[in-house]
């Protein structure tokens, strides 16, 4: 197998940088130990041992994005309106150091957002960013107490969504391509040959959720007390949705930059917010935290799999690690399974 020594990772990133911006896990200064996927520039330290707080989804679904720009003008015939679409052309972006759960999240989102043209759902922005994303994934030899990717059949061995896999071995990483674009990367002259053995991969927590698809639209849905009890400590922030690699919901809004010009944009939105579903009449179909959390779990483990196929979760554990009130989605799934 191909191999790269740890101390040559910077060289690899530099070569990758020739293809486009490189994003890698880094610890920003003055951020109290947070690790984030951030643009890498020569000289920046890469943090490959600790997990990132935020997922890499902003590379395909930016936290906010311009959809259109518009401008009004006065003409002899009256008021004119000009609408220009956002430019969808872009070059490659390289994501380095994603984990298996991050990479697999892209394929989960693809099931809805990257359908071929002609299907009823279309997200051109997502599709073009996704098409131009190169994913270099670092396989996990150890998980932490929040990881539960082994709930899925392939677990830590999954290569879905990746172009190139890296496996920790010796004083560096073994590399294996899992896509034609990954093959191109292996052709770079930066790799050495090695006869090191790939490492044993981590086995993480297993949470059964297969039975939930039917229950979440049936008996569990009408059991609001169940949701009240489990979400009693939830404070309804957007932490879990925004750190989730598969939550994709968004808000659309217009911003004026002058009295005549502006942009239509979209930003991440979170189903845990009261305002998310509040109607102008004052009616809110999901008025309490229990209603909203029920929808969140329902969407992930029932509605999305029913409509699109995959479960809208990859077991990355981000929603667990930093939840301000220590709410663990696995407790909810297990309780739901037993109910």
């Amino acid at each position: 197998m191909k191999f790269i020594a740890s101390d040559r990772i910077d060289g690899l990133l530099e070569r990758l940088g020739e293809r486009g911006p490189v994003w890698a896990p880094r610890e920003p200064e003055g951020a109290a130990g947070t690790v984030l996927f951030a643009p890498w520039r020569p000289g920046d330290a890469v943090e490959l041992d600790r997990f990132t707080t935020l997922s890499a989804k902003k590379l395909v679904l930016p936290a906010s994005e311009k959809l259109l720009s518009f401008s009004y003008s006065l003409t002899p015939e009256g008021e004119a309106l000009d609408i220009t679409g956002a430019d969808q052309g872009r070059g490659d972006t390289v994501l380095f150091g994603a984990r298996v759960c991050d990479a697999r999240a892209f394929t989960v989102l693809d099931a809805l957002l990257a359908l071929p043209p002609g299907e009823s759902y279309q997200d051109p922005g997502y599709r073009s960013r996704r098409r131009n994303l190169l994913v270099i994934t670092l396989a996990c030899t150890a998980g932490d107490a929040a990881c539960f990717c082994s709930s899925w059949k392939e677990g830590t061995a999954s290569t879905q969504g990746s172009d190139l896999m890296l496996y920790p071995a010796g004083e560096g990483y073994l590399a294996r391509s899992v896509s034609p674009r990954g093959e191109e990367l292996l052709a770079l002259d930066i790799w050495e040959d090695s006869d090191l053995e790939p490492p044993e991969l981590a086995v993480t927590d297993r949470v059964p959720f297969e039975a939930l698809e039917a229950k979440l639209v049936g008996s569990l849905f009408s059991d609001l007390d169940f949701w009240r009890e489990l979400t009693a400590k939830c404070v309804s922030c957007g932490y879990c949705t925004y750190t989730c690699p598969t939550c994709y919901c968004f808000d659309m809004y217009d911003e004026m930059s002058s009295s005549r010009d502006g942009e239509r944009c979209r930003s991440w939105d979170a189903c845990m917010f009261y305002l998310y579903t509040l109607e102008t009449s004052g009616h809110n179909p999901r008025p309490t935290i229990a209603h909203r959390y029920r929808n969140r779990i329902g969407h992930k483990f029932s509605y999305y799999p029913a409509n699109q196929g995959p479960v809208l979760c990859t077991g990355c554990g981000r929603c667990i690690r930093g939840c301000p009130v220590g709410l663990d989605i696995r407790d909810v799934l297990r309780a739901a399974g037993e109910r």
Partner: protein, 285 residues
């Protein structure tokens, strides 16, 4: 009933609206206006088709867009009509529009009343307030194809006489003699010639037969609730009853996530549901 995706050259840019121009503004009541709009793209206007019950996103660039039922019938090829109640940011901006002003439209969206399956049947239409908008489209459509349907009955309720929309249509329906048209208001005044009473009560007085009949209702949630009860009492089965749902919507294409009732999205799988279909969905109204 599956959704009919938006056709035409913008089909691949689903969030990009078409430019349109306001050609007429009708003040229906103190807080409801009907706007008639025309696509700037003539070719698009000529080829634009839809089915009664479908919705569109009417927008004012700078304020945003919102989902409204198309209130004009498919046979109306001159313009597309939306009726808008002034409640929030977008609807306020729409209410400020005048003839010649520029708007945006994304339409048609969502599913529609299954009118072709109703051929040969009697149809009972029950509307309240602004809920008449999709029903106007439906009723005018059925009038256009009068021979395809049996007895047509329309019960339309509003709070007061001045809350009645579509006055010209009401006059036509009253005069045409071919349909059974009843208007009712919650509280009357001396000049009011129609019925007085809540819609469900009037419905029960009329006691239409469920035999070969389809009931369609749209209006305020509380009215719908009691109308459904009354229909049930009169022997209408769930698959004979249709209604349209309302939800907060943003994208209109099943992506932004907020309008779902369980696994179904009101924007693409709805807004029209039979009571039978609703019964199969989780109860999250």
């Amino acid at each position: 009933m599956s959704t009919i995706p938006r056709q035409g050259k913008k089909a691949l840019e689903p969030l990009r609206p078409e430019k349109a121009t306001v050609v007429d503004v009708i003040r229906e009541t103190h807080n409801i206006k009907s706007l008639r709009v025309v696509f700037d793209d003539e070719e698009l206007m000529t080829s634009f088709t839809f089915q009664p019950g479908q919705v569109g996103q009417l927008g004012v660039m700078g304020a945003g867009e919102s989902t409204f039922a198309i209130a004009s019938p498919p046979s109306q090829r001159e313009y597309i009509q939306f009726s808008v109640m002034k409640t929030g940011v977008v609807t306020t901006a729409i209410h400020e529009l005048a003839v010649g002003d520029r708007v945006t439209v994304r339409a048609p969206m969502g599913n529609h009343f299954p009118v072709d399956r109703w051929q040969g049947k009697n149809v009972l239409v029950i509307g309240g307030g602004i809920g008449m908008a999709p029903l106007r489209s439906l009723f005018l459509h059925m009038m256009d194809h009068r021979e395809e349907y049996g007895h047509l009955q329309l019960i339309y309720g509003a709070r007061t006489p001045s809350d009645i929309c579509y006055r010209d249509d009401c006059r036509d329906w009253k005069q045409c003699g071919d349909v059974d048209f009843i208007t009712t208001i919650d509280t009357g005044n001396q000049d009011w010639e129609g019925r007085v009473g809540l819609v469900p009560a009037v419905l029960e007085e009329e006691e239409p037969s469920p035999e070969n009949n389809i009931a369609v209702t749209c209006g305020p949630p509380v009215m719908i609730k009691f109308v459904l009860e009354s229909l049930g009492k009169m022997g209408f089965r769930d698959e004979q009853i249709y209604t349209t749902l309302e939800r907060r919507m943003k994208c209109g294409i099943g992506l932004c996530g907020r309008c779902n009732v369980g696994p179904r999205y009101v924007c693409t799988d709805g807004p029209v549901f039979s009571l039978k279909e609703l019964g199969e969905l989780p109860d999250e109204m």
